[in-house]
Symmetry: C2
Subunit: 308 residues, 2 copies
């Protein structure tokens, strides 16, 4: 049996990297020849966690066929968010917490999805079900993923399972959840030194919605005004992205992690549909989304419905 590559989605966030590292470790303990890789370099937030726990960043790959035909996916399933040659791979396993779409296999597989806030919460259950001990640095990456995905439990995607898992892992990782968590989240909000194109690509995913191709990027900040002061530059970059990648609509969500709200900037087709999805009026391509912090729960389903 050839090597098995384990990876999260493109533009990896802390869960995509943390769940890949921890699930690959678990599978290796269970006798599989796995390697955690990533479909992009870690964000500053993720790098903060990797440095803190002395974990090496996974090797970045763009395709798999040159080295294997077997993969395991974490934190995603939609093919357009996955490795470029995913359609040629045998997918042995998926561990995820997203909707299922644009995904199919020729053979039965292991698929474990739960509607929880973070993939790493599910990975913790798998460690327990298989009676595998979690080393400190693996627990550290897993708790970092939960903090990231739930914005320290403030996201509406956060469940009691996530909170329980984070506390259990924090103990193994020997961290103070609040203190470490805020430091890690803040490490990811350093946007001022980034070109607009880079900022738009930090945490962006594409979604086919009806006949439309929708790109949804999200950035976290502790200073909304600082990001909004760059609106012109961001809009130009969004227009360029739409033109060069065939996106019909580009949605940028700028999330205030201290107040748990977001500003929305949209460029492209069907702006009226965006207004009806969120029940807001766009002014200057912008709207304030009160209490919205979760792309998965508060953005994607609403847009999917209006474009359905």
């Amino acid at each position: 049996m050839s090597k098995i590559l384990v990876f999260g989605h493109q533009n990896p966030d802390t869960d995509a990297i943390g769940a890949a590292i921890s699930f690959a470790y678990l599978q290796k303990e269970l006798g599989k020849d796995t390697e955690a890789v990533a479909l992009g370099t870690p964000s500053e937030e993720t790098q903060y966690a990797l440095d803190y726990f002395h974990v090496e960043a996974p090797r970045v790959v763009e395709s798999a066929a040159a080295e294997t035909n077997q993969v395991m996916l974490v934190d995603h399933n939609e093919f357009q968010q996955s490795i470029s040659d995913i359609a040629d791979m045998t997918i042995l396993a998926v561990v995820d917490h997203h909707r299922i779409a644009n995904f199919e296999t020729a053979d039965p597989l292991y698929y474990r999805a739960e509607p929880v806030g973070c993939t790493s919460t599910i990975v913790l259950k798998l460690f327990k079900e298989n009676n595998v001990v979690i080393p400190k640095q693996i627990a550290g990456m897993m708790v970092s993923a939960i903090i990231s995905d739930t914005l320290l439990f403030k996201s509406p995607t956060c469940t009691q399972d996530d909170i329980d898992a984070a506390h259990e892992l924090a103990e193994i990782a020997e961290i103070n959840l609040e203190e470490y968590g805020l430091d890690m989240l803040k490490a990811g909000t350093n946007l001022s030194n980034k070109a607009a194109e880079v900022l738009l690509d930090l945490d962006a995913k594409s979604f086919p919605m009806g006949a439309k191709n929708v790109r949804i990027a999200q950035v976290n900040t502790v200073d909304l005004e600082e990001v909004l002061s760059r609106q012109d530059e961001l809009e130009t970059a969004m227009k360029n992205e739409n033109a060069s990648n065939g996106y019909d609509l580009f949605v940028l969500i700028i999330t205030d992690i201290l107040n748990s709200d977001s500003e929305l900037i949209v460029i492209g087709d069907s702006l009226d549909k965006v207004e009806s999805a969120f029940n807001v009026k766009l002014t200057n391509n912008r709207a304030f989304l009160n209490g919205v912090v979760s792309r998965k729960k508060q953005i994607v389903p609403q847009l999917t419905e209006v474009f359905g």
Copy 2:
């Protein structure tokens, strides 16, 4: 929250019914308002199990919208094998052991698939993970499902998990596995009194393969010659099915449960592809498939590949 309907695939086999009954019971114990229903009447094999364990056959439904918008699927995921209005339903959970295809949701969900021989083997794990006690009659339906799907452990789809689960459930159900198992399987092989149309519909599923719509029916027998003596009548019925349902290809697998082999009869397009899929030469639309008993593992992937 409205009622949740729990069901297996169309043309239900013993696992589709047994897993629906057992998973609905488990979810009810966990506080959900579930009802096991079925997308067709039980086969004679399934009815044997229901009678033996004094379990009422689930109510047969064709659509769900009149009574609920929430469903849980067992033993299938492909929409064309599901309830007629599946696309309008919120799918809360799936427990399955098949490939994933033609399946998508707008929201995150609970999805549990494992590459084991039977859905009920996975349902047993869920009972244990949730510390719910399994009543005798529920265990009886679950072990019947495992016997059925694995042909008493002879199918190549059968895993050690299935064997272990069956022994554990047989103890709760107070049966002798071999004795009860063979009696139950034989109860499903009474084909001589069935019209060809009925026989073709006992355990049939549709699969989109490339641009083709392929229908694959399977029947179990202890007397291959008896079924093959009706080849003309069966072929006429297969042609009619193709014409009236738009199938490009109808594949009938007649499985000898005592010797663990099958005869294949095919009607429709692309017979050369069928020959290459199974590395056989068709004579009079027929071929012997040595050691083939599993549609899921020995038929569907091979056909999917040649039509891919």
